[in-house]
Amino acid sequence: MDFPEDYKYTKDHEWVQMSGDVATVGITEFAQSELGDLVFVDLPKVGASVKQHGTMCVVESTKAASDVYSPLTGTVASVNDALTADPGLINRTPYTEGWIAKISGVSVAEIAGLMSAAEYKALLGK
């Protein structure tokens, strides 16, 4: 399984990629493989406030709905509308085309508290 080195991770299996002060977030390869084929993504609303570890959106497989937690506190700046037509992007390319949202106004302290790729791999026992 792949876990990009320059990304940050949470114990809830979300990833964060910082670009300036905007965080792009999604779910990890491990998370998508556990969830199975996704058939629906209930995207967050642009402009919505999200709290770290609070529910950001819901992804659904044929079998079940699962919450995706926000890795950081901030404001949803944009969402990946391509997921509406093709939720499978998360399964196929979880770290690139499968991104879920961009979050602005995030705190440096929260980012510093996220896991590195090595720490996340250790958490998974990989």
Binding site: G36, D37, V39, F40, D42, V58, E60, T62, K63, A65
Partner: protein
């Protein structure tokens, strides 16, 4: 947790194992969508060894089953199978079953995994004849081969009979690899195909043969995830969802297998009374018209402010129909096709419309 004879095969094939009705079963191998599509377009293999098998034998077997089940047992003949149900005295569904007639004195009942022990105890306790009822669930493995290429795949492996001549809801006793098997033209996917009863000890050999020999036909092993999305598109009811002891068999759409004129059977009096008073609820299909997926237990609301008018029994977005769809048990007032309703999904109200069932019907 219980394991089928194919447990090690599932692990070897990368099956993701989950608990289902006390059994450790694969929910998927390659992915629910790919497996679902394989069954619609080619052929898929399912381990259904967790299903229960119960023999009813003896000269009173037919009389016993007429009383214990709701469909007309006397309509069966040797080699014929029949969809039926065990009802309680209130007319609710204890289980839905298939009855296979081997002779006028030998009938095999195939029952749901989660209900097998309860069904057996209930059959024994309510049997008023000297028919002998035996739970042989542990003796049989069961493999479902489902999809448009299922018969083509199997025919060369079955030399003693012509499978193409075995019609829907018929079965044969034959051989695969020198092993005695029962092949029934039945299934739970809405596609053509068979369910094969094999001795437990030979299940692995036959599973491997089917996978190996099926490769040119594009066969893939399929898990419970695909089984559920396939049966839902075909609107085949699932016990614990559409069928339950506290849902009347008439309300859940089993009216076509309830033979009031065959004489007394368990549940008949209650169902007659319900029919006379008129049914209050009906099982319907829904398409969701707003984004979202309704699932079992979600409330169905009226759109004219009358509040709750029903409950979702099964729902997801399925690979072939490619829409969020559901089956729901609703008030008669909203059961007509094209009626607009709404579903309450995690506190959010989502539009839906009543549609006719099934959602998917294969071309014949």
């Amino acid at each position: 947790m219980k394991r089928t004879p194919l447990y090690d095969e599932h692990l070897r094939l990368g099956g993701k194992m989950v608990e289902f009705a006390g059994w450790e079963m694969p929910v998927q191998y390659s992915g629910v969508v790919a497996e679902h599509v394989a069954v619609r377009e080619r052929v898929g293999l399912f381990d259904v060894s967790h299903m229960g098998e119960i023999w009813v034998t003896g000269s009173s077997a037919e009389r016993a089953l007429e009383l214990l089940t709701c469909n007309r047992v006397s309509a069966l003949y040797d080699g014929k199978a029949q969809y039926s149900a065990l009802l309680n005295d209130q007319g609710g569904v204890i289980d839905d079953i298939i009855i296979y007639r081997f002779s006028s004195e030998r009938y095999l009942l195939c029952v749901n995994a989660s209900n097998a022990d309860r069904d057996f105890e209930w059959l024994v306790s309510r049997n008023t004849t000297d028919a002998v009822i035996t739970n042989v669930s542990a003796e049989y493995g069961q493999i479902a081969v489902q999809g448009p290429r299922a018969i083509e795949l199997l025919a060369p492996l079955v030399r003693s009979c012509d499978l193409t001549q075995v019609k829907s809801f018929h079965f044969v006793e034959t051989e695969i690899l020198g092993t005695n098997v029962i092949i029934a033209r039945t299934g739970y996917t809405g596609e053509d195909g068979v369910e094969i009863f094999v001795p437990s000890s030979k299940t692995v050999d036959i599973w491997r043969l089917l996978l190996e020999h099926g490769e040119p036909y594009g066969v893939v092993p399929c898990g419970l995830g695909a089984r559920d999305s396939l049966r839902l598109e075909a609107a085949l009811p699932l016990h614990g969802h559409e069928l339950a002891p506290d849902i009347s068999a008439l309300e859940s759409g089993l009216g076509w297998i309830i033979k009031f004129d065959k004489g007394e059977f368990i549940g008949r009096q209650a169902l007659l009374a319900q029919r006379e008073q008129g049914l209050k609820r009906k099982l319907v299909g829904l398409f969701l018209t707003d984004a979202g997926i309704a699932r079992q237990g979600d409330t169905v609301d009226s759109i004219d402010g009358r509040g709750a008018v029903g409950v979702v029994t099964s729902g997801t977005k399925t690979p072939t129909v490619q829409r969020a769809l559901a089956m729901a048990l609703v008030d008669n007032s909203v059961s007509t096709v094209d009626t607009k309703v709404s579903c309450v999904v995690r506190g959010r109200t989502i539009g839906a419309v009543v549609v006719s069932l099934p959602f998917y019907r294969r071309a014949r």
